[in-house]
């Protein structure tokens, strides 16, 4: 039965852990608060070691909290991260997204910095600063950096956060056994869409949207065991989904996949990491998503596809083909996921949002179409933000 205005805005008759106030996707103040309370204090995946393989290689990263960073592999092989800004006059230090340089030179006034963040040169220093400015006081702002499973580099803007492994709380355990071989990024794409970052992560955190994917319906949902897979939740808002066998041969042009060391044919593991990263190992390719929120209704999704560094050209070509069939820009699933999420972005565009509540109330013993993954995310979100996602403005008591 259609509902009138009062009914439409009536609080859902669910526990308040089972729905959210839609304004958490649109409110500017909440967005800023998320950047400060969540992103600035959380380990965020910045890049993979293959993106800065040699000493002096660098890689820029737009941090979800808003800061522009640059990661640099030092002459001691250690990867460090810094704010990508010259301490002199605030110019962007490194402009290219990746490259190699023994010295990072600000083009504005030619101040120079080494791969360890030390200021090594101030042009015409004696003439202008005399003895009033020491190089040691104008080094780069260092950001905590750790290498994690699979060779990924993580950064944390907070100097007092727990170590990366404590933060991950074992959530990558299901996938780590398959990340022992050196990996290499072969696909990288930044996609800017009009939607809140949480909506993208929500989609990665629930399989109920299988229905939007013809591919999943054919290769997954009709296969034995598909609905029996279980979500496992971990501290700090992370969740994983166990493997099943995907029948790619059920989709024309989808057979003969190359596989992944140790993974059963057609195997599939997925780990969602709070607040916006996903590890997705599916038969022959590891896909990594990193959501970079730009505004309440705008997110850049960094998409990486990885294979094995030891791949022969022929093996790599097969892996790339497998990746593209599902997750490439012209692939079957990616376009469908983006269509669904941008559809949400149209409805949940600003404070005049068409919807007041979004539900995640499915309970199926934590199996694949249970929405426990999203509930677990919003429990952590509520803890970090100091208020429930279902009542972010303390307007109602809920159940």
């Amino acid at each position: 039965m259609p509902r009138n205005a009062a009914e439409w805005t009536e609080r859902p008759r669910f526990p308040r852990t089972h729905y959210v106030d839609a304004r958490i996707y649109t409110d500017e103040n909440i967005f800023r608060e998320e950047q400060e309370k969540i992103f600035a204090r959380t380990w965020i995946l910045a890049c993979h070691e293959s993106e800065l393989a040699k000493a002096y290689d660098y890689r820029t990263f737009r941090h979800p909290s808003g800061q522009n960073l640059v990661l640099v592999r030092g002459d001691d092989d250690r990867v460090r991260a810094f704010y990508n800004i010259c301490p002199h006059r605030g110019n962007t230090l490194v402009n290219a997204p990746a490259g190699s340089a023994r010295t990072l030179t600000c083009v504005f006034h030619a101040w120079t910095f080494d791969c360890r963040g030390d200021c090594t040169g101030i042009s015409r220093r004696k003439e202008g600063f005399q003895d009033r400015l020491e190089s040691a006081r104008v080094g780069l702002r260092a950001v905590r950096t750790e290498r994690g499973a699979g060779g990924f580099y993580w950064v944390n803007l907070s100097d007092d956060s727990v170590p990366l492994q404590d933060s991950l709380a074992g959530s990558l355990g299901v996938i780590e056994p398959y990340l022992s071989e050196p990996l290499e990024v072969f696909h990288y794409q930044k996609v800017r869409i009009r939607a809140n970052y949480k909506l993208w992560h929500d989609t990665n955190s629930e399989f109920y949207h299988d229905f939007v994917h013809y591919f999943n319906r054919i290769t997954g949902m009709q296969q034995p065991g598909y609905f029996g897979r279980k979500y496992e939740t971990f501290p700090n808002g992370h969740a994983s989904v166990g493997s099943m066998r995907v029948r790619y041969d059920q989709y024309e042009g989808g057979a003969d996949r190359i596989g992944w060391p140790g993974l059963e044919a057609g195997g599939w593991f997925l780990v969602d990491l709070f607040p916006g990263m996903t590890f997705n190992l599916r038969t022959s390719v590891l896909r990594i998503d990193t959501a970079i929120p730009i505004a309440p209704n705008e997110v850049v999704v960094e998409l990486r596809g990885l294979g094995l560094r030891k791949d022969t050209p022929e093996q790599r070509a097969l892996r790339v083909r497998d990746h593209n069939a599902i997750w490439g820009p012209f692939g079957r699933n990616l376009h469908e996921d983006f269509l669904a999420v941008t559809g949400q972005g149209v409805s949940l565009r600003d404070d005049r949002t068409d919807a007041r509540w979004l539900l995640h109330g499915r309970e199926e013993a934590s199996t694949i179409h249970d929405e426990v993954g999203m509930r677990h995310f919003y429990a952590e979100w509520s803890r970090r933000m100091g208020r429930p996602a279902s009542d972010p403005f303390a307007e109602g008591d809920g159940e």
Binding site: V185, V320, R321, N324, F330, L334, H335, L339, T342
Partner: protein, 151 residues
Amino acid sequence: MRTAVEELVYRSCLLLDAHDFPAFLDLCTDDFRYTVEAHAPEIRRAMVWLDHDKAGMKALFENLPRHFSDPSPLTRHATVYTVTFEAGGGRASVVTALQVFRTVLDGGTSSLFAVGKLYDTVVVTDGRVALARRVVKLDTRDLGIGSHVPF
């Protein structure tokens, strides 16, 4: 013959615009191969985003109606820059500038979707031209929601 080659390229765009995929494949040789490539400065690496032979393209096209896709029409604007015939004239390399525009159904607003170039190989047999190889090299890498329909 240059005119015939140019018209082949333009016709291929018109047929893809019109979603007349069987007619597009009829323009191609049996050993036709289609590839979409892009270079990622972020990983300092060339990427392949799509790579199919004629049978693979046929399967891709036939699966399109089964998928949830953006219904916004894509319009290809192509300008053939160079046509270089091999000695003997049996084969030509063609470089074409390509822009792809997307027009939303509600209101009909058009926007630029992608920029790149087509690198085609055209074979000439008994005065007839056919597309043997197409490499789409995209400058645009942020394709937003993406597309199920190749360029």
